[in-house]
């Protein structure tokens, strides 16, 4: 898997890379693409006599980006360590229910509700991590299995929304400063914290190492299992935060909020769009947030233009494939450069 993206393209004829290309990292490309998308989108929406980035438009984009952003931040960590988590979507539903049911409309139960939801999320992450590291199950299969277990539980016990979030707690979902939702700012704060964690702390460094080459990590004396488990716990906690946020927006818990929005595959798409290698070892949260914003903006533009859902998916697919191909090309160029000096 680790060489998949590097090798699928023929090694390109070596062009002397101008210095200008060095700073053109995937992260930079993502944000350039985001700006381009906003410009193109504004023009298209403008042709219909509407405005893309008015108060409502900004609010719409940021609201969409909040929930997906939280899930994708967690997904970034597991993907960086060379793993994957397909159970996040059901976990979002489950934690929204746990939070809302524990609160049951009482202001005093907000903190216990939040803590319980996060604890359960952490537990699920622990299970994911242990199944992958101790039982040595493939991450794809292991987390799919856990997803199925969660689904079974949800289908058995719930038919629709349940629990009740006190009015005070709903402020989290709806308060805003100008066009900017408070929750979006909180999501960005989580993003900044994760960025710091990944790029500045030892644990973060070690996640890159494990994802880059687990054998090298092992030979360098890193506790590889513990690192992978940690990534999974953090990923699940991020999904838990999403569940809590959505409960506050909906006023109750809903078993399928996560799956209806497709947060499992959507979050992986955002991570990859943000320039993180699906094989691990390279990338980061900054790119992921860019990817999330692109997906959210696309959706908002499509809504404004009232295009049909099928076409919408086609465009998203094209964007994703283009991005990955672009990054792979740049990587193979880098690789060749490194080989023969």
């Amino acid at each position: 898997m680790s060489t998949l993206q590097e090798n699928t393209l023929p090694v390109r004829q070596q062009a002397t890379r101008p210095a200008a290309q060095r700073w053109l990292t995937p992260v930079v490309i993502v944000y350039i693409a985001l700006v381009a998308l906003l410009v193109v989108g504004s023009v298209l929406v403008g042709l219909r006599g509407e405005v893309l980035l008015d108060q409502g438009g900004i609010l719409n984009i940021l609201t969409r980006a909040t929930a997906l952003g939280l899930v994708a931040i967690g997904q970034t960590m597991v993907i960086l360590t060379g793993s994957l988590d397909l159970s996040v979507a059901y976990l979002v539903g489950l934690t929204s229910l746990i939070a809302a049911e524990t609160m049951a409309g009482r202001d005093g139960m907000v903190v216990p509700g939040v803590l319980l939801a996060l604890a359960v999320a952490a537990g699920v992450g622990l299970v994911n991590g242990l199944v992958i590291t101790v039982l040595k199950a493939n991450a794809f299969i292991a987390t799919l299995g856990v997803a199925l277990i969660l689904r079974g539980y949800l289908e058995e016990n719930y038919t629709g929304p349940a629990g009740d979030v006190p009015r005070g707690f709903q402020h989290l979902g709806y308060d805003r400063i100008g066009p900017v939702p408070v929750a979006a700012l909180l999501m960005l704060a989580v993003a900044v914290l994760s960025w710091w964690y990944l790029s500045r702390t030892r644990s973060g460094y070690h996640m890159y190492a494990v994802g880059g080459d687990i054998e090298v990590a092992r030979l360098s004396g890193l506790p590889t299992r513990r690192i992978i488990v940690t990534a999974h716990v953090l990923c699940s906690v991020a999904a838990g935060l999403t569940g809590i946020y959505l409960a506050s927006r909906l006023g109750s818990g809903a078993p399928y909020v996560g799956t209806d929005a497709g947060y499992d595959l959507e979050s992986i798409a955002a991570v990859v769009l943000g320039g993180t290698l699906l094989a691990g070892g390279r990338g980061g949260v900054a790119g992921t947030i860019g990817g999330v914003l692109i997906l959210a903006t696309l959706d908002t533009i499509f809504d404004d233009l009232e295009v049909d859902p099928f076409f919408k998916d086609v465009v998203r697919g094209v964007v994703l494939v283009t991005a990955v191909a672009l990054y792979a090309r740049r990587m193979s160029a880098n690789r060749t450069r490194g080989r023969l000096t």
Binding site: R200, Y205, Y208, A209, V216, L219, S220, L277, G281, L340
Partner: protein, 500 residues
């Protein structure tokens, strides 16, 4: 011997099996501070495994390890590091997407106020690099942008940064060019003077005799002998390792009658790494391509094979101009390339020995020829691969045996033009002899061979003509049997044209 921190390590009766197959069967080794102790043996003799046991990577099944007289047991490489033991492994252990400093301090990053102290990490790495005289490497650079030789330097820096008192080096010069080998010698001697104990695994006789104080020989996982270097001759060593005598000779060179048509010709060929190449290689001929690391030797190999194609000039195969822009085209034309980086370019590590051997044949030939596989045992035999069977995964083979599988893979498609880039890197004396004979044999059967090797005696011993590169262009041509001095003069940009 030398004053200072004289550490000693004693391994006694070490045994280790993988899946029931014994690899080490009772090895004894004693290592003192301030000595260079060489370990020699054939491919698969268990040298790397022994080092990994010492490094805490593998747990021995039996036997004891003592450091300064106290018995120790290592559960992980970190334990070994704490006891002052660091190993430079045979395979590269660097993360390509991370910086040099991040690699050097991997697992031991200095922390300040909860954050990795990046400034200190970079400064310390720079200091170590300077100490080695390698200021060309920027600690902030990504490892993927470094050459193979520079990566080796980073590996050494990584081991030194642990303040190791015992340093194991598993074929550290395998990837280095001659002048870099000199630097490494220097470095090893300096470390010895500081009282560090060095365990040195190498297949290169000259190196072992130049550097080591004592030599231990292993064969089939057993301890054969240990003696001071001065008391051994290279013939003794070979006899201990291989179990028979092998004289110091190369197969006979081609005589003019052996030479056939021009199989590979470059006419004014170039791309952005190399320029103005005029090269002819005839059927039956082995042409050596010499030059320093970075002179463009490998770039020629890769261009001929279509990996980074020529953008100017002509490439002719058997007199017909061809556009080789992809390896697949090259293979179809009968061009083969044995790359210098066997793990990266040469092998599918998780596949079996047989699948690897048949890789090119299946991919590039058509019809029944692509499906033939009955000759695999014979091919593996020709290159003397020691594996548990055709179905063993390649990643579990010893380093030298992996190299042999790469060769077998190309023999399987019977090439017309064979380009070999460092074909004997990391393989033992016996196998090296075998590879030399294979190459000469192929030439006799009409193959045109272009050979790159950083080992000058080998290059000179094997070549019918030697082309020397300097800075991306040909610096001159030398006849068979030219002196090392003449080659080096051209390679370093002195000497012009024909020097005999």
């Amino acid at each position: 011997m030398t004053p200072g921190i004289a550490t000693s390590v004693r391994l006694t009766g070490i045994t280790k099996s993988f899946l029931g197959v014994p690899v080490l069967r009772g090895v004894d080794l004693e290592l003192r501070g301030g000595e260079v102790h060489a370990v020699m043996g054939e491919n698969g003799a268990g040298k790397s495994t022994l080092l990994k046991v010492l490094a805490g990577v593998h747990r021995p099944d039996g036997g004891t390890i003592e450091v300064d007289g106290a018995e120790v047991s290592f559960a992980s490489p970190t334990d070994a590091q704490r006891a002052g033991i660091a190993i430079i492994h045979q395979e590269f252990t660097l993360l390509p997407h991370r910086s040099v400093a991040e690699n050097v301090y991997l697992g031991r990053e200095p922390v300040r106020r909860m954050q990795v102290d990046r400034r200190r990490m970079v400064a310390d790495t720079r200091e170590l690099l300077n100490w080695l005289g390698e200021d060309g490497i920027d600690p902030a650079d990504n490892v993927s942008s470094l050459s193979v030789a520079q990566r080796q330097v980073v590996e050494i820096v990584k081991a030194l940064s642990t303040d190791a008192r015992v340093l194991g080096m598993d074929e550290p010069t395998a990837a280095l060019a001659d002048h870099e080998v000199e630097l490494l010698y220097d470095l090893v001697r300096r470390l010895r003077e500081r009282g560090i104990a060095i365990l040195y695994v190498s297949h290169r006789m000259r190196e072992v005799f130049d550097l080591s104080d004592r030599i231990t020989v292993l064969k089939d996982g057993r301890f054969v002998t240990c003696a001071p270097t001065g008391e051994l001759t290279s013939e003794d060593l070979v006899r201990h390792m291989v179990g028979r005598d092998l004289g110091e000779y190369y197969p006979d060179r081609a005589v003019p009658d052996d030479l056939g048509r021009v199989r590979l010709a470059l006419r004014g060929a170039g791309n952005d790494r190399v320029r103005d190449l005029n090269i002819e290689v005839r059927a039956g001929e082995i042409v050596g391509l010499a030059g320093l690391q970075g002179s463009g030797r490998s770039a020629v190999a890769r261009a001929v094979f279509g990996v980074e194609p020529f953008t100017r000039g002509l490439l002719e195969v058997d007199g017909v101009a061809q556009r080789v822009t992809r390896p697949r085209t090259a293979v179809r034309l009968g061009i083969a390339l044995v790359t210098e980086d066997r793990k990266g370019d040469g092998l599918a590590l998780r596949q079996s020995v047989r699948d690897n051997t048949l890789l090119v044949r299946r991919a590039a030939l058509r019809g029944a020829r692509s499906r033939a596989r009955s000759d695999v045992p014979a091919l593996l035999d020709v290159v003397t691969v020691v594996a548990r069977g055709e179905h063993q995964e390649v990643r579990y083979l010893s380093g030298g045996n992996q190299q042999k599988v790469v060769l077998a893979k190309w023999l399987a498609v019977e090439p017309r033009v064979l380009v070999v880039d460092e074909p004997t890197r990391g393989i033992d004396v016996g196998a090296k002899r075998a590879v030399h004979e294979i190459l000469r044999d192929l030439a006799r059967r009409g193959v045109a061979v272009l050979m790159i090797s950083s080992e000058l005696p080998e290059l000179i011993g094997m070549s019918d003509r030697i082309l020397v590169m300097h800075d991306g262009a040909l610096a001159g041509e030398l006849p068979a049997g030219a002196s090392e001095g003449a080659v080096m003069a051209l390679a370093t940009g002195h000497g012009v044209g024909e020097v005999a």
